[in-house]
């Protein structure tokens, strides 16, 4: 299809030359941090917050905000890619590796459904959540994560489209089978690799 040329289109590349290779196909360079949320923004106090891992695990684990913050955290420099076409390059978050969290529960299934306050869900394979590829983060660029971006805590899975990085995260259920989460049931791709441009069901 792509021998088609849009008449008189030359493009206005806004991405600096040295960053161009970090932009997946169909994405554009965005310096802001747009907010996209399905439904109202939940209000979650850290005093009420907890993170729970259950389902097919050797032992269920539940951490309060205080307990969570005692875990070893790390700074995560990363690029993020939203399926609505913007990418934010060279940003950073701080949080706890999902590897550390899953060690507490010992998953026995190969899939997980991540749950959020407000009812949002997203599905990921354990493979996409482990080996230093996913975190539960509480800070963005040195500041507490703003509520509109998922504060107090959100999942961060930068190698997949950003809808997988669930805001207001409250836990994950380990499963022996895969199931679609919220956007995965509403038209977006089940896995969402931005480098393969897996945006929609049919991609």
């Amino acid at each position: 299809m792509s021998d088609f040329i849009s008449r008189a289109f030359t493009g206005r590349r806004r991405v600096p030359e040295d960053l161009a290779a970090r932009l997946p196909p169909g994405q554009y360079y965005e310096q802001g941090f747009p907010v996209l949320t399905a439904g109202p923004t939940p209000d979650v106090e850290t005093s009420d917050w907890s993170f729970r891992i259950d389902g097919m695990v050797a032992q269920e684990a539940e951490l309060s905000w205080k307990e969570f913050n005692l875990l070893e955290s790390e700074e995560i420099p990363c690029d993020i890619h939203c399926v609505t076409k913007w990418s934010k390059l060279g940003t950073s978050f701080r949080g706890v590796s999902v590897d550390t969290l899953l060690e507490l529960a010992e998953p026995m299934g190969a899939y997980a459904m991540v749950h959020s306050y407000g009812g949002y869900t997203t599905n990921l394979s354990i493979e996409d959540l482990t080996d230093g590829k996913a975190w539960v983060v509480t800070q963005h660029e040195g500041e507490p994560l703003p509520r509109e971006h998922g504060g107090p805590a959100r999942l961060l899975v930068p190698h997949l489209y950003f809808w997988k990085s669930a805001k207001w995260v409250m836990g994950m259920r380990v499963m022996d089978h895969d199931e679609p989460g919220f956007w995965e049931a509403n038209g977006y791709h089940n896995r969402g690799d931005p480098w393969k441009e897996e945006r929609y069901w049919s991609d």
Partner: protein
Amino acid sequence: MERLTAVVQRAPGRWMLAEVTHITQETPQVKSFRMRVPMWMPHLPGQHYDVRLTAPDGYQAQRSYSIASSPLDEGEIELTIDRLADGEVSPYFHDVVREGDQVEVRGPFTSYFVWRGEQPVLLIGGGSGVVPLMAMLRHRRLTMPELPMRLVYSVRTGEDVIYADELGDDALLTFTREPPQGWSGHTGRIDRSLIEAAGIDPGSAIAFACGSNGFVESASRLMLDAGTDAGRIRTERFGPTG
């Protein structure tokens, strides 16, 4: 073999060449583009299409735009596009595209911010956030004109009203900066009294709010306070769609 009927491909997601058949200047910054879509399939009001532009050197830019038309407009879609000054795709549509041009599109996509006939319905739009809501309003007018649906529409000035000629009793406007001369209706940001004036019972309503993040936050806050269940408030927030 030649006697077999050709199977029409109806896969959403394949790029195809649409032809722009009609362009409407809605406001100084907003135009609507009616297009004939070869592999058209009916959309749900609220869904979007992706568009893709390709430069001679292979460089491409993609954006998503909401459909403004009813799915009863068979074979066609209308995309309404706000011109963002520092954008890349919307200025191309505004400054270059003319009737008869071809544009690469694919869709329709996603099924969360969609109206499937639930009622009563309150639509709350800010600026060009009215676009997907217009698909719902138009579809209801064509299919179920008696169904209770009202649009609350917030715009800055009199000249910023998109679809101005089409808005009737089912739309309630408020002007946040400069109302048109002689305007005796609502002014200022959306508030509780405006939501009440819409006459849709918030306790049983399904609400669709679309606009900037700040606008959608206040719209959903107003609906929650009025008694609408969070699960019946569907939102769509603009990212930048330049």
